[in-house]
């Protein structure tokens, strides 16, 4: 029976600890010794291979009874709190000393990104509808769900109540980042936009960083003295670096080239997609996890030159889900084992990117839990793809081409159907043909 893979790894900002999520559960691991400090599910009895059975510092949390998968996690900058949100819209705040859940809150919609502000007083969520909420962190133990117009459909005049977003995108929000001074909040969406707005007055849009040609999956502010730059990953096989306040692209990093892949086919709908970034400030390294790709790219960020270059490629066994540097600069990675393989769920690479099995041995032996079937971990990126094979879309595509041709656009392709039924058109051609008539004869020769 397989083990549930670890979907996310996040490091504690001030302690040598990482938290791993698997399904609806969490485990905290000491990165110096590799021991499991806390877990929301009792550790299973397993073949310990000579390892000492692990005592835990806390007992399983009753609040984890539902099966909602943890999607986003964030530590407060001082490390005192951990916020997690699952796909059942419930957000939890955990105390990072006792690893107890301090309180829960039901969000308006499923969160796609979660961050604390710099003093830890607020938690910001960017949700699947595109709205970004700036919520006060204090949560009593028992909290009623947040009511807004969308959640209470039958009540009249309810639209004034409830929390209002500080800003919103018109399509699904995919990630959010704050500049270190918290003056600006950067949000990305499914329609290729990266928006820079003031924080907390999100209604003041500073600029947009436009350049990606497919849904943006992840964004992070790059470390460094200037705090000027943002790194973004998308479904267009590129990683881009931006000067945040100018909305200017300073570099496009081509993933296909870096991985030695041929260029994408012309009408391919889907392309290589970035899953996540992890940044090691000390080394100025960025570890990039690419969807369904066993190789992790390590980029070196040179702030003075404003350039990121490929430093190394680390090849994992299996399909990586997450990679995170710990405070010592070791890279913790989690992966889904390849079909039929029994590789480790977690692999740790030291500062020279040499695999160190020691640190991962406890979490590989005692961590996670066994399941019947490994669930699909790529559902959420699939959701971001635009499905243009819907019959409505095809129909619209045909209408589009026709409209473009009627409007006199000489570049519009002729639909094949048109050539056969030349005389069955209902719309009489009038003015448009006059100005475009010089261009159309060539098309008919095709």
């Amino acid at each position: 029976m397989p083990l549930l893979p670890f979907s996310h790894i996040i490091r504690h900002p001030t302690k040598d600890v990482v938290v791993l999520s698997f399904g609806e559960h969490l485990q905290a691991v000491d990165t110096k010794s590799g021991t499991i400090l806390a877990s929301t599910v009792a550790l299973e009895e397993r073949e310990s291979n000579g390892l000492q059975a692990q005592p835990l510092t806390n007992t399983p949390d009753a609040a984890q009874e539902n099966k909602a998968r943890v999607q986003v996690l964030a530590f407060s900058p001082d490390g005192a709190f951990l916020a997690t949100a699952a796909d059942d819209k419930v957000m939890k705040i955990w105390d990072t000393e006792s690893w107890k859940c301090l309180g829960t809150r039901t969000l308006v919609r499923r969160s796609n990104a979660l961050e604390f502000n710099k003093d830890g007083s607020h938690v910001i969520t960017a949700d699947k509808f595109g709205d970004v909420y700036n919520m006060v962190r204090d949560i009593p133990d028992v909290v009623a769900p947040v009511k807004t117009a969308e959640t209470s459909e039958d009540a009249e005049g309810d639209e004034d109540e409830g929390e209002q977003p500080i800003l919103g995108h018109v399509s699904m929000a995919t990630d959010l980042a704050l500049t270190k001074d918290n003056k600006y909040i950067i949000t990305s969406d499914r329609d290729e936009h990266i928006r820079v707005s003031q924080y907390p007055k999100g209604h003041n849009i500073e600029t947009y960083c436009l350049g990606h040609t497919s849904f943006v999956t992840t964004i992070k502010v790059l470390p460094g003295a200037s705090q000027k730059y943002l790194i973004s990953g998308a479904g267009d096989a590129t990683i881009r670096i931006w000067e945040i306040l100018k909305g200017q692209e300073v570099q496009t990093f081509n993933i296909r080239e870096a991985l030695g892949m041929p260029p994408a086919e012309a009408d391919a709908e889907d392309d290589v997609t970035v899953f996540s970034f992890s940044i090691c400030e000390r080394k100025n390294h960025i570890a990039v996890v690419v969807e369904k790709e066993s190789r992790i790219l390590i980029l070196h960020w040179d702030e003075a030159a404003a350039k990121a270059e490929l430093f190394k490629i680390v090849e994992l066994e299996g399909t990586p889900l997450s990679a995170e540097y710990d405070r010592s600069g070791n890279l913790w990675t989690s992966a889904i084992p390849a079909e039929g393989q029994t590789s480790n769920a977690v692999s740790v690479y030291d500062n020279e990117y040499v695999q160190q099995d020691d640190l991962a041995k406890y979490v590989n032996t005692f961590g996670s839990k066994t399941v019947e079937v490994i669930p699909d971990h790529f559902v959420y990126t699939e959701e971001l793809r635009k499905h243009t094979t819907d019959w409505r879309e095809l129909k619209k595509a045909r209408e589009e081409k026709e409209a473009a041709r009627l409007a006199g656009d000489p570049d519009a392709p002729l639909s094949k159907k048109r050539r056969k039924n030349k005389n069955s058109r209902k719309i009489p051609d009038v003015a448009a043909a006059d100005s475009s008539s010089a261009a159309t004869p060539e098309q008919v020769q095709e």
């Binding site: 436009l210 499905h387 009627l406 209902k426 009489p428 006059d434 159309t440």
Partner: protein
């Protein structure tokens, strides 16, 4: 200009049109061939063409008298060099183009663009503009239309603070509560409109549906970047009269003896 044969690309052309080409008047398109259902789902992924960013947009197809083609090749009827002007007025959901056609001669030196998501309707306006340009050489070069989802892609077309007027005439009311989020004026969208509109710029809204008007007023009042323009100030604005009467929708409301509720707001700043 040589007259191509009527069988070009399958177009049915009455014989008179061939002769009309040499006469001064080009027949305007007839609306009855361009009717389309009023509602379109703004959230679905239509096959829309939009540029990666405003700098990538080639406006020479829409405004050949003001923009040179981006790829450097001289195109028929297009100028060789950009006039330096930028679009200043945008009519969101411009329908059959009544307002734009009216404003084009009121503000002949200003570039204005209509945005319409419905295919057939946009087609109609495009043909109408081309016909008007032919019939009145030198006029109507400053107006054009684009098939676009303005809710999603305004920042792709317009730079920060580029526009001086934004028009929302008789928008879709989306009566049902669950559809309210599809309304063209919402708190979150207003921030995007404020981004493309310059401080001092004006948003014009008009509707015959009182509920929608109250909704728009409520959200505009609540937004920190918009302040209502008092009715007395509106009397001096030449655009207002056309907002009330120039559109097909507006004329329909008059025929049916409905009420029109106008509300105009100025874009201000609240940055310190």
């Amino acid at each position: 200009m040589e007259n191509p044969t009527p069988s070009t690309a399958g177009e049915k052309r009455p014989a008179e049109n061939a002769a009309e080409e040499t006469s001064t008047e080009v027949r305007l398109p007839q609306k009855k061939y361009f009717r389309q259902r009023a509602h379109a789902n703004v959230f679905s992924d239509h096959h829309l063409d939009y540029p990666v960013s405003p700098a990538h947009m080639d406006w020479s197809k829409n405004f050949p008298a003001h923009f040179a083609p981006k790829n450097g090749e001289p195109a028929e009827g297009a100028v060789a060099k950009d006039s330096g002007k930028k679009i200043e007025f945008a009519d969101i959901g411009c329908g059959y183009g009544g307002l734009l056609v009216a404003l084009s001669t009121v503000y002949p030196d200003t570039l204005m663009l209509g945005m319409e998501i419905r295919v057939k309707v946009e087609e109609y306006v495009n043909q109408k503009i081309l016909a008007l340009r032919q019939n009145h050489p030198g006029s109507y070069d400053n107006v054009s239309i684009l098939r676009m989802n303005a809710m999603k892609f305004l920042p792709n077309f317009f730079e920060k603070h580029q526009l001086s007027k934004l028009f929302f005439l008789f928008p879709d009311p989306h009566f049902k509560k669950r559809k309210h989020k599809a309304r063209i004026i919402t708190p979150t969208l207003l921030s995007e409109y404020a981004y493309v509109l310059r401080p001092g710029g004006i948003i014009y809204t008009i509707s015959d549906v009182k509920d929608l008007h109250l909704w728009m007023v409520k959200h505009l009042d609540a937004h920190p970047l918009f302040v209502k323009i008092p009715d007395e100030e509106l009397l001096d604005d030449p655009a207002v009269e056309h907002v009330r009467t120039a559109t097909e929708e507006g004329q329909k409301v008059e025929r049916n003896k409905g009420d029109k509720y106008l509300a105009c707001y100025r874009r201000i700043t609240d940055e310190d």
